[in-house]
Structures are given as structure tokens and as C-alpha cells.
Amino acid sequence: MIGIGKTAFGAFADRDLRSLAVEAGEKCLADGHVSPSQVEAFYLGNFAGPSFVGQNHLAPYIAGAMGINGVACTRFEAACASSGSAFFHAVSAVSAGLYDVVLIDGVEKMTSQTTPKVTEILASAGDTCGEVRAGATFPALFAMIARRHMFQYGTTRQHLAAVAVKNHANGALNPQAHMRKVITMEQALNGKPISDPLTVYDCSLISDGAAAVLIAPLERASEFTDKPVKVLGIAQTSDHLALDEKEDITTLRAVVEAAKKAYKMAGVTASDIQFAEVHDCFTIAEILATEDLGFVKKGEGGPYALEGRTCLRGERPVNTSGGLKSKGHPVGATGTGQICDVVTQIRGDAGERQIARHSLGLAQNLGGSGATAVVTILGAA
């Protein structure tokens, strides 16, 4: 990793999709001291630009505006794991020797649509001939996961609320977060119902934003930066799209498998990971992630959060950025956004939210209700 660049995440009425993606991309190029003509390929993560803003063929549209022309420019769509997937494929191509300097950008412009319309567009990442036709939304799918997790493991509303309170506390320290607001346990427990048992405080935000990263082979990294970060392990996996096709919905099998592969590639175990950015699209998703990544045993993710072990000064901080809950969730930008956040911690540039042990971090990006998972392990080079 030789460069990172992000826009703030938020609701920006005066910004269009391309200007956000270009801002993140240009900040990233500047951070990596790379000129547009040096970029050998452009990988774009974007979930639903065609539905949200009516624009297709997005990769060359954005690349051209940055002065990147004449190279492979491709959009990757994997629901909320779109830019995690773009990153995975870019790393694969560089590892294979196809390119040296590659820019990966992720973007989503969501706030120009009404909330019911956004809910409908997001739901198209589920099975539109089954669960979605019956009336499932993404909050509903994760609410059904939460209900089952509560039934099987005794997880409580307090456990879910602890995730929201912690992520809002972290996000309040992040100048680029969408909602920089500390919330109390009482507020989190008494939010407006969205899909029982999830309330508005269990749900991530509808945001606009972009995040970009630059990669190059390790042996060339010093040409661009004196603070390179190494991709130690990475894996992308899949599972059934529909929630009702998954055998046990309290475990996201794609995450378990991606983590296993990434740990093996990196030569580390779950216990070695010092901090993580995980895909808390809903509070229950962070609880599942800490279990499926192997930080705790299945069923112990709720108490793990409530006991404060994942907070900024805890034994293994999770979502120091504020997570999708507070930082925001412009879905196509979330995967690369998480990578930027992990790199920022490893470089020691996280300001007020900088943690003490920050040399080995993990990012976990999820698509849909677990049909795509990308796990990346990053370390100080």
C-alpha cells in the first residue's frame, strides 16, 4: 500500500458521484506521489451507481476525469463488498505481475434518493425472486439474524446497543465521519424501530463518499512512500445469496472461510490481530464478525462488546474509525474506506483515536447478507 485518500463521508447535496470519486482518487495519488500517467490500471468499486444516479460505465468515466486514460478501467459490483472485491482483484493482478502501480477507488452517492427508494435499491442485493419479493429489506434480513442469534446464544438488546455506543464514541473522534455524535446506552436502547429487534441506532448510515488506495509491488514501495504498509493476507469468498438458503444464519460462512484463508496466507492467527475494521452494517453484524473472524467463540460476541474489550482502549479495538454505524456507509466506498482506516492506524496517523498496538490490523468487508466476504490483513512493512 503506497497511498490512501478519502473524502469525508456524509450527505452532500452539492456533490455528484464523479466529483467524490475524483477527490478521493486525487488525494490518494498525491499521498503516493504518483502521477495519473503512472497508473497502469484503475479498479472501481461501486454498488448501484446506475440505480442511485442513473450513470453506467463508471470506471472510465471517473478515471478519465483524473487524467487516467488508455489503461484497463473496470467497475466491480459485489453489493456492499464492491470495493473490497475491487481491491482483492487489484492485489491479485499486481501479485501476478500484470501491473505495478494500480489505483483502486470506491464510491457511492446515495442521499439524492428518498429513504424508501434507497431501501429498495439496497434490497436488490438480496434474492429479488424470493426474500425481497416477500418484503425483506436489509435491516429485516439482519434483524432475522439477530433474532436467531438471541434465540441460540442469549444475545440481548444491550449487547447490540453496546456496539452502537462504542462506534459512535469512536466516530466522534474521526473528523471524516458522517455522524460525529456520542450516544448513550439509553438512547441506543430506545431508538425508533426499523425492523424488530433493530432500531435506528442498530443501523448504519445512508451516506455519500469515496475512498481510494494505491498499491505497488513491495520491492518498489520505497520509490513512492517512506511509510509503506504490507498486504500480508487477503481472500474473497462467497455463499448463497438468499438468507433462507444458508444453513445456520448465526454464522456467515463466507467470513469464516475468508478469514481462514487470509490468516493462512499471512502466517498469523486470529489472536495475533491487534485491531480490526469490521463490516458493522448493523450492530449484530459486528457481533457476528468478531465471532466469525475467531476473536471470540460463537455466541460470545455480545458480551465481548458489552465488556468493552473492543473499545478504543480495549484489548482489541474494533472499528476505531466509528465503523459503518458512525463513520457512514456509502456502500461502494466501504471496502476501500476500511483499508484506508487500517492503514491510517498502522502509520500512526489516527490522531485522537490512535491506538497503542497498531502494527497488525484486519479489514472485513461484507456483501449482502454474507454472499460475498473479503478479509484483508495489513501490517507495517
Binding site: 424508501p116 431501501t119 425483506a136 429489506t137 429485516a140 433474532r147 425492523s195 433493530l198 438468507l243
Partner: protein, 67 residues
């Protein structure tokens, strides 16, 4: 067609096409033949483990109720 409730939720924030139906209960049903199906619940609210039976299909949506 009958089965038991594997999991459920009551949807308050509906997608655009179902705003008029909200709040509605959605459930994954474990059918007697071992398959699972996402369906709507008619009438009385159900909880995990409750037995349910098929009512009818309305505009392609399967409705079940407490047995």
C-alpha cells in the same frame, strides 16, 4: 404446506413498494420437507419455534399463519 418459524422480524421501515403494508411480519419458515422459505405472516404475530400453516399466495407473496 406447514412448518415452524426459524426466525422472524416485524418490518417498520419498508421498501418503496411495500410502504403501505408496514408494519408487517416477515419470517423464515422451516417447512416440513426440510426446505426454508421467506414468507409473510398473516394475523397473530409469531415467534421462533411456533408452528405455522400456509394461507395463500397474494401477488407472488406466500402468507402463513399460526397453526
Amino acid at each position: 404446506m406447514s412448518g415452524v418459524v426459524y426466525t422472524e422480524t416485524v418490518v417498520h421501515a419498508a421498501p418503496e413498494q411495500f410502504v403501505a403494508d408496514a408494519p408487517y411480519q416477515l419470517a423464515i419458515i422451516s417447512l416440513d420437507d426440510g426446505k426454508r422459505l421467506t414468507a409473510r405472516i398473516d394475523g397473530q404475530r409469531v415467534a421462533i419455534g411456533d408452528p405455522v400453516e400456509f394461507v395463500e399466495d397474494r401477488s407472488g407473496i406466500s402468507f402463513f399463519r399460526k397453526a
